[in-house]
Amino acid sequence: MNVEESTRAPKRPTWFFILWAVFSLFLLAGIVYLAWSLLNPYSFHGVVMQSPQKARDFTLTGHNGQPVSLKDYSGKIILIYFGYTTCPDVCPTTLADLHTARESLGQLGDQVQVFMVTVDPERDTQAVLADYMSHFDSSFIGLTGSPEQIAEVATYYGIYYERAEGNSTLGYLMDHTATVMAIDQDGYLRLVFPFGTAAQDIADDLNYLLER
């Protein structure tokens, strides 16, 4: 009898088992999370671009008359959109979404610079552009230049636009590619957002790029 009792392991207190159970639960949760994130990497909402080279720099004129180059904003995410201010539907929708996306990033939003290059430099004077951009977000910058300069930048970024002589009282309208391009902090073209991408989806993608 005495021998049997002595070989039995010393009795451990209940709290030891509780602690042990909690610890293993955390460990298990950690392993599951790790496995899950390895199996499901973040998938972008925007179209992912794999550019071997950095996005080509350009210099255009900002809406306050200042020269603006991409390199002035290196280290930030740059979003480029091509549009025109007489457009009352698609362009304001896009710019308002970009504003919402930037806002929802909070402090990180400061690391995002939005440019709209006008495809209608004839009607979009610097003053009109300045007014238009500040209506959506005081940090947004409108860019203009000579028709040749704008065409060169647009061509490089795969943007098409052309004047359409319609029968609207407005006069001519502009047909244009309405995508938003995102250049990452290292200067590579990373994402393209088609028209209609939800502001929150854009924000999620930008957040991922900013926090990596």
Binding site: C87, T93, L170
Partner: protein, 149 residues
């Protein structure tokens, strides 16, 4: 006797009114508009846009053939649409069809009412008056709330 007669007459008239009203509802176009809103515009902007959901509860299709507003000199029905990679915007030719029993939603990136030569900028929180003109249903006046998005 005379009270009975007049009661019968009133009953008959009431019945006739109900029957006639329901006939009118069933035939032709019956347009109703809801959720009208316009987007606020930059100070110097010449143009603005408004959106609305149009429902036709009648049994005949109708067409939105135009619009007028106290907020703009000209009002046109436009459509934004993608053609390949290009985003285009054009006035809707021949009016926008609102099919019998159908609903057409005017929304960003699609059909919209374009306000051209704004009298003054469209400011958030204000309301503008817009009258939609239909081929059959005639004028449908709207109060349009101006919002940011």
């Amino acid at each position: 006797m005379s009270t009975l007669r007049s009661r019968t007459l009133i009953a008959f008239l009431l019945l006739a009114t109900i029957v006639l009203t329901s006939c009118q509802q069933a035939s032709g176009s019956k347009i109703s508009a809801s959720d009208a809103w316009g987007r606020s515009s930059p100070m110097m902007a010449q143009t603005g846009a408004m959106y609305v959901v149009i429902e036709n509860q009648g049994n005949e299709s109708d067409r939105l053939i135009g619009a007028a507003s106290d907020a703009a000199k000209t009002v046109e029905v436009h459509e934004s649409y993608m053609e390949g990679d290009m985003m285009k915007m054009r006035p809707v030719e021949g009016g926008l069809e609102i099919p019998a029993g159908g609903t057409v939603e005017l929304k960003p990136g699609g059909y919209h009412i374009m306000l051209i030569d704004l009298v003054s900028p469209l400011e958030v929180g204000t309301k503008i008056k817009v009258t939609l003109k239909f081929e059959k249903a005639g004028d449908v006046p709207l109060e349009v709330e101006i919002r940011e998005q």
